[in-house]
């Protein structure tokens, strides 16, 4: 082997090793940092453990919004088949409305209430988050043209 070839081999070896480490870190971190999206029916069916972060989406149930102390707010997210109570301490997005689509990030507490850290609403009148549309479709509550 010429010195140039030896150097190239060493470089290729280092790259393979570094690539392996990178791949391992990526896989490990992907496992630890993904949040699943569940509909209220999924939450009911899967017995999600308290404290595991996930996202839930559906419609804000009519007449379910209640204000608590300070900026605290409670409401119920429904996909028509099941409902999930949500507690959120923060600023609601501008397009948060009863009867409209919403996605919340957070985790269940031991009492079965979803403690949201973030609430996203759809961005305009025409747009509905695709996850919410699918959740409603699976629960059989999606009417074509409703969008």
């Amino acid at each position: 082997m010429t010195p140039k070839q030896r150097r190239r081999l060493a470089f290729a070896g280092a790259m393979v090793a570094a690539g392996g480490v990178l791949a391992a870190v990526v896989v490990y971190e992907l496992k630890g940092n993904t949040e699943y999206f569940f509909s209220p029916s999924d939450v009911a069916a899967k017995n999600v453990e308290p404290g595991i972060p996930f996202r839930v989406g559906g419609l804000v149930e009519k007449a379910s919004v209640h204000h608590g102390a300070g900026a605290d707010i409670r409401f119920t997210v429904t996909d028509g088949a099941h409902a999930l109570p949500v507690d959120f301490n923060g600023v609601l997005p501008a397009l948060f409305r009863e009867g409209q689509g919403v996605i919340a990030t957070g985790a269940l507490d031991t009492g079965g209430t979803f403690q949201a850290t973030e609430v996203l609403a759809k961005h305009d009148e025409k747009y509905m988050p695709p996850e919410v549309v699918q959740a409603l479709k699976r629960a059989g509550r999606w009417k074509e043209g409703e969008q």
């Binding site: 690539g19 990178l22 900026a71």
Partner: protein, 638 residues
């Protein structure tokens, strides 16, 4: 009538782009001088017709011609003129037309500047022609902005108010100038593979630089817009659409560095070709992600899944074709020149390794949820902690090594001498770290480390500049761009680690505190904007009993679109931002208010601007060089 004119112009542009593709590629043969002339003419012709088509659509928007569906769906007579104009590209159809316009402008620049040999330029025009024809076909068949509706409505549906904003008005053109600008490097690389020409890296360099500058500015503008418009106080969300613009930037940055080595010392010849292909491929993938509707994101304003298939086919053809060409032709090209382990080439090689690795980590994080959804319908999202654990350390390692590059010689360098030169920078790094540990609270080791790296970079840039004293302005380009990195790093670190946040429900006369500041809520008034009604909060920043500034965050209702937006108020000293967003009214006169104090937040975008200035200096030097001293004048290292 005006719609038909636009449509006709687009059809002529399509015909000319096909001529351009055929004649351009035929012109790659030495004897085909006529084909080269035809390709040149067709390029300029296509540019004229694309400009005409774009102008027509702009005219329709400005005059609110609601017989055109695109205008009726996305505009409104009451919209201010500037947003009627920017509304042209704030929708899918118009933005694809903007895409083709930018592609044509770059093609025109390639033809006019004619850098590199005749055959190389001709083949590059041929590839640009292929790309242009594919995208014009895409527009005509799936996204025609000139379609009529009958009967025409009396009033338009309006434009998403989030998009009615000066920052976002300039964001798409900037981003496209970068995204699509990478097509020029792609075309030159493919042309180099076809004609076997080696000087392509030098020929394509101005276009690479321009694309990189525009991409840098475009990403910064988008991030700035998200910061002040979305009201969450964040500047980067690792949103798939943001990632779609970051990935081409990372590869374009790698390409700038690798192409420099290819040009100056002949190293990495094939690798540079591959990067040029990869950069534009990522732009295409980004377009697919944004335009096909597969993503649910804050950017999913208007998208249609049926278009995804067409773009998918287009991507597979473009990337597959280019890679096939690469596999077939690259082995016949001259291999890369050799260099010592201690040399600038090695530094650039490491730069490329880290940049490509960081891009790969973003790529996986962005596409993994899509792949999983396609495989078994599981919906997941990959959060910021993933990127903090993968992208951040890789980029951090890259920044540590940056100072060595410019100080090492080509082919053979002296690492020890470079280290000796860098001792003052090491000192600055230590001072920065200690200062952070002394001042900042809470103390974070990562914060001290990040500021040490920033000090290291700034010190090294200053040393590099001092060494080049008296040289042409363009010799300072790299030092300036690297200093910009340091500035952005400081902003990102400080904002992420030391931001204070407060969320309170306040009534008139109530005060709230955020960080060291006291705010007094003076109530909310109703205001009338040109096409919106605003609830404007009046909040006083108190200095003891004195009011030192009034801030007026708003909530706006746009009746035409039936939408509300939050308009933040930001009080900046340049070294910290006080950021207020008005929430919702919970009971009569009582509103939720969210407040942030973000130290060094303006540095994030200032740094990007400095980076772009560095790029601009280099570009200016290139263009001037060509005018004053053509061909092979020896240049000092950049």
């Amino acid at each position: 009538m005006i719609g038909e004119l636009g449509q006709l112009a687009l059809c002529f542009a399509l015909a000319l782009s096909l001529v351009m593709a055929g004649a351009g590629l035929a012109g790659a043969r030495t004897e085909a001088a006529l084909a080269r002339n035809i390709a040149h003419g067709a390029t300029m012709g296509m540019l004229v017709f694309v400009i005409l088509a774009f102008g027509t659509l702009t005219y329709a928007f400005v005059t609110s011609d609601f017989s055109i569906a695109d205008v009726a769906n996305n505009s409104h007579t009451l919209k201010p003129l500037v947003y009627k104009i920017t509304g042209v590209w704030a929708n899918h159809e118009g933005s694809m037309l903007l895409w083709v316009l930018v592609l044509s402008l770059y093609a025109g620049a390639v033809a006019m500047l004619g850098r590199g040999g005749e055959r190389l330029t001709s083949a590059a025009l041929g590839i640009q022609g292929l790309l242009a024809s594919a995208f014009i076909l895409f527009i005509l068949f799936t996204s025609n902005p000139f379609l009529r509706i009958d009967p025409a409505p009396f009033e338009g549906a309006g434009l998403n108010p989030l998009l009615q904003d000066p920052g976002l008005a300039m964001h798409p053109p900037m981003l496209y100038a970068g995204y699509v600008g990478l097509s020029a490097s792609f075309s030159y690389a493919a042309a180099a593979l076809i004609v076997g020409e080696e000087g392509w890296a030098r020929a394509a360099r101005p276009f690479m630089l321009l694309a990189w500058i525009a991409l840098t500015c475009g990403i910064a503008l988008g991030s700035w817009w998200a910061y002040y418009e979305l009201g969450w106080g964040g500047f980067w969300f690792w949103d798939p659409v943001e990632n779609a613009s970051l990935m081409p930037w990372l590869v374009a940055t790698a390409l700038l560095h690798s192409a420099l080595a290819t040009e100056k010392s002949g190293a990495f010849r094939t690798w540079t070709l591959l990067l040029a292909i990869g950069g534009f491929s990522l732009s295409l993938i980004g377009t697919f992600l944004v335009r096909s509707g597969v993503l649910s994101s804050v950017h999913a304003f208007a998208s249609d899944p049926t278009r995804g298939f067409f773009i998918m086919v287009l991507i597979v053809c473009a990337i597959g074709g280019a890679l096939g060409l690469f596999a077939w032709r690259a082995p016949h090209l001259q291999g890369g020149a050799s260099f010592n382990t201690a040399s600038r080439e090695t530094a650039l090689l490491l730069n490329n390794v880290f940049l490509v690795a960081s891009c790969a980590s973003v790529f996986v994080g962005t596409l993994y949820p899509l792949a999983l959804d396609a495989l078994n319908g599981t919906k997941i999202s990959v959060g910021p902690p993933y990127y903090a654990a993968t992208f951040a350390p890789i980029f951090f390692a890259l920044l540590l090594l940056v100072p060595f590059g410019p100080l090492l010689g080509w082919r053979r360098g002296d690492v020890k001498a470079a280290m000796r030169t860098l001792y003052p920078a090491l000192g600055l790094a230590a001072v920065a770290a200690l200062a952070v540990l002394a001042i900042a609270s809470p103390r974070f080791l990562t914060g001290a480390l990040a500021f040490a790296v920033a000090g290291w970079l700034l010190g090294a840039s200053a040393i590099d500049m001092a060494k080049r004293k008296g040289a042409r302005a363009s010799a300072f380009a790299a030092a300036l761009a690297h200093a910009g990195l340091a500035v952005t790093l400081m902003g990102v670190t400080a904002t992420t680690l030391w931001r204070s946040e407060a969320l309170d429900l306040v009534g008139p006369g109530d005060t709230m505190t955020v960080g060291p500041y006291t705010l007094r809520f003076d109530g909310v008034t109703q205001e009338q904007g040109p096409n919106y009604q605003a609830m404007r909060a009046h909040i006083a920043l108190m200095d003891g009993a004195r009011v030192s500034a009034m801030l007026t965050p708003e909530k706006r209702l746009y009746p035409a679109e039936g939408q509300e937006t939050a308009d933040t108020a930001i009080h900046t000293t340049g070294f910290r931002d006080l950021y207020l967003a008005l929430g919702d009214e919970r009971s009569a006169g009582h509103w939720t208010v969210r407040a942030y104090v973000s130290p060094l937040a303006p540095f994030i975008w200032l740094g990007a601007l400095v980076m772009a200035l560095g790029g601009a200096l280099s570009l200016w030097g290139r263009l001037r060089l060509r005018v004053s001293a053509p061909a092979a004048a020896p240049q000092p290292a950049e």
